[in-house]
Symmetry: C2
Subunit: 523 residues, 2 copies
């Protein structure tokens, strides 16, 4: 693991080296070594938490701003390093780093405002409706404690060391142990070093942000009694495994995982008329951006079966340049998934892209778009419905009299996003019912545009029913902070023993909801 | 199961009758039969949800008020029935029913206000900081869907069919399947009938509130794909079992369980001086109320080892009349636990109460209070620290120089409440640290009084670190509604397709937080 604030393990970069520090030379030396080192990391995170949770919001906000500034100061170096490790393009990574800095700033402003503390105060009430006097009661949300963040491979900045989960956890007042994604180890270490130094320079305690590397270290952190919550962005397989580990601890902890989503885009007949000219290009652009390695990539486009879009979609796809995939492993998985889909009876090829290996063993992909009638998809659902992580999407042709709401319920029960392109003024009962079904089966419902490109804002929701996420919590936007908070009520406490946010003087000037005495007569 | 709104199973009162409706005559006919009947119950709950989730807040609020009124109209009959089934006293049950009605009213007012929807609106922003225009984005919290509520045995009104979990779920807009507690089956059926009829009379759909009975039915409901969340109040053993079932579903669902708490009360030397005269009686009253069958009963009282409280505590305990225990099974469990504690080396008896069986096989208990030095408790923690459900408590004598904060961390890491009786003006750094430790290890921190008697208010927190609850969510007070909500964002939607709460016209007049265009320049 890399811990720039530690003097005890100055050069260690991985806890997964078998036997590196194992005392027992047992059957799982790597795991033992990882557990030992992780224990010291988490202990440091616990000590840091004791200090961090006492700091004023202004200090935490300034530290988040300092972290953003540190990333900005070394932007060119970081983007170049990220590009070499991930194959993502310089423009994409430049935008992603900008987004990551803006995100830290958004959370800094959120911390300053203090709305996320949800402060509630019950005034003492001698005539309380329950028949006994009500005592002075003050409730606020407090940080849960040290958390572990499993970084993602496809967003080396925005969902990695200093990404949204880390920003939300720090904003909540939690210390963070990041489990590095193996796809960009050097970048992970460099960002940890930069950000941890910036946070400390701004007055946060040593150990506020630490990095561990290797699967064993991640598992050991997740199981460590000092860790109070976990977040994750990655595959369904790995996410389910980790969610189960979190749930089967002696003391289960919340596990906020984002696991997989196929983001259906539905086009009505009227919607097709309205969007026909832009539809093929918009679709292919959304599918192939970042080589389709996005959790919000539209995996399915549902169109009327007489839409006749194959040719314009094929033309748009043919115009897309090849893009490097994140890693040879991702490429292998993508190829296998693509071959399986192409091999299904009844699937037609609209545009067959390829995967090319270069001399450095990197793989480069061009988009593949296939078509399938709805009834074939229904029969072949076991093969076709799983996410294909890469530049592939499936056009589904549905008969004009199809009940799209029933299709969504049957085939797309859990997604990050659902999109509907309806015609202008097409807002009747049937479309209303469809939109409600989309809202029941996904966290974000779009009525125009494409699901890729997730704004970082107060109103964003990036999380939906299983398997999109393990809970419905969002991992993007300011509401993401709620994952790392818990409620505490103080009853009959003298002012000096109360947290500042619930004191009469309200020194942090946070919004508070007060229940006056006598109010319960209305209940 | 009892479903007053169903015509298909008019007389069925249990799904656990072996083989009652089992088609396959397999090895687990009871379970199969339960699963079949539960399937029809959950299907009804899903249909009802489709309607319920479209209703205006005013309709839901009025229905909650109607439910409260229905309980009030038949209060005497209900209290008498509850007393016969549970052995709790008429005054206690009268107060509990009042609390249950007040609680429904509180949630009705909460629904009307709409703050729980946490409405956030991002205005479209052409100059958004991320470098691409920000689309119109509107987020609100929506009900998760049908939920299952496992009722408690010790609160036949307030944590049962029409109790806090049901009120919170209905207020969220969820339909509810209650798994009846076997300790008060007739009351459960009667309350279901009254409340379901009242809800329907006020315009809520058939199937909004249904009852199932028997362990097999509860498990079947928890595993049913139509159920989207679960709540539970009961033992650590049963709660852990159900939590594991929820977590290991093909699609895990949130499980909000309240499992066990020993609610330590700490008294400093100065606190002892200040409260000495009232301490023994206050303590014994809190321990013995409802025969100690409360989740907030103080299981441990920590006092300086020269406190000399044994005699006054013994006198107070001797004055307590015997109280019927909830059931013979509870009595067996309590006696075994009491005997185990009395048998520990180093435990002294301060007052030995008893358990008497009457001719109806009911058991009646008087309080037992024991004392133990802190060092013995530390050595015998495996035997002594588990909750004793009944009128027993342990006085712990600590040496004057003890670090109480360390003791709480070591012995009391997860509780619903922690209480500190400090001296007036005793607000220095050491006490401050202790209060922070109490806030880290429990959901409610009291600086005076006793933890029993939980106010139902906006600022209440009834939930703390494991094993107090499976998550830190509260099951009492208006914040409890958040357990049954999830976030959905609408992007670029025409007004007609938006839920009313996020439309420009704001027809429900709910509070909304709006991010204006241009704001992101400050992030």
């Amino acid at each position: 693991m890399t811990s720039p604030t530690s003097t005890s393990t100055p050069t260690s970069t991985s806890t997964s080296t078998p036997g590196s520090t194992s005392p027992g030379a047992g059957r799982h030396p790597g795991q033992d070594g990882a557990a030992l080192e992780v224990d010291s990391v988490v202990t440091r995170a616990q000590r840091a938490f004791d200090t961090l949770s006492l700091l004023e919001p202004g200090v935490v906000a300034a530290a988040l701003d300092a972290a953003a500034a540190a990333l900005g100061a070394d932007a060119e170096e970081l983007v170049a390093l990220a590009a070499s490790e991930t194959g993502l393009t310089i423009p994409r990574l430049t935008g992603e780093l900008r987004r990551t800095r803006v995100q830290l700033g958004l959370f800094a402003r959120t911390v300053e405002r203090g709305d996320h503390l949800d402060v509630r105060i019950d005034d003492p009430d001698p005539d309380f409706a329950l028949g006994v006097p009500r005592d002075d009661l003050r409730r606020l949300l407090v940080p849960v404690g040290p958390v572990v963040v499993f970084a993602a491979g496809n967003f080396p900045f925005a969902f990695s060391v200093a990404g949204g989960d880390t920003a939300a956890a720090l904003a909540a007042g939690c210390t963070v142990v990041v489990k590095a994604h193996p796809g960009h180890p050097q970048l992970s270490r460099r960002v940890t070093e930069l950000v941890a130094t910036a946070l400390e320079g701004a007055g946060l305690p040593q150990g506020t942000l630490q990095l561990v590397e290797g699967q064993d270290a991640g598992v050991a952190a997740l199981r460590h009694p000092g860790i109070r919550a976990a977040s994750f962005t990655g595959s369904l397989r790995a996410g389910r495994l980790l969610a189960d580990l979190a749930a089967t601890r002696p003391d289960p902890i919340p596990f906020f995982g984002e696991l997989g989503s196929v983001n259906p885009v539905l086009v009505t007949a009227a919607g097709l008329e309205a969007t026909r000219s832009g539809l093929p290009t918009g679709f292919v652009t959304s599918v192939s951006g970042s080589a389709g390695q996005l959790c919000t990539k539209p995996g399915f486009l549902l169109v009327p079966d007489d839409a006749a879009l194959d040719e314009p979609i094929a033309n748009a796809a043919a115009a897309v340049h090849e893009h490097r995939l994140l890693s040879p492993g991702i490429a292998d998985g993508y190829e296998a998934r693509r071959d399986a889909i192409l091999g299904v009876d009844g699937v037609r090829t609209i545009h067959e892209g390829g995967v090319r290996r270069d001399d450095d063993e990197q793989a480069w992909a061009t988009p593949t778009i296939v078509g399938v009638p709805l009834d074939v998809l229904q029969v072949q659902r076991d093969t076709l419905l799983d996410e294909a992580f890469g530049p592939l999407s499936i056009v589904v042709d549905y008969p004009r009299d199809t009940d799209l709401s029933a299709v969504v319920t049957e085939l797309f029960p859990g997604n990050l996003t659902s999109t509907l392109h309806a015609g202008p003024g097409e807002t009747g009962a049937e479309v209303g019912r469809l939109v409600r079904t989309m809202a029941r089966t996904s966290g974000r419902v779009l009525l125009r545009g494409w699901p890729t490109g997730v704004a970082v804002t107060p109103a964003m929701q990036h999380g939906g029913p299983w398997p999109a996420t393990t809970t419905d919590a969002t991992s993007v936007g300011t509401a993401a902070i709620g994952r790392f908070l818990r409620g505490v009520a103080f009853q009959g406490a003298p002012q000096d023993l109360l947290p500042p946010a619930v004191r009469d003087a309200n020194p942090w000037s946070v919004a508070r909801s007060v229940s006056a005495a006598g109010e319960s007569a209305d209940w």
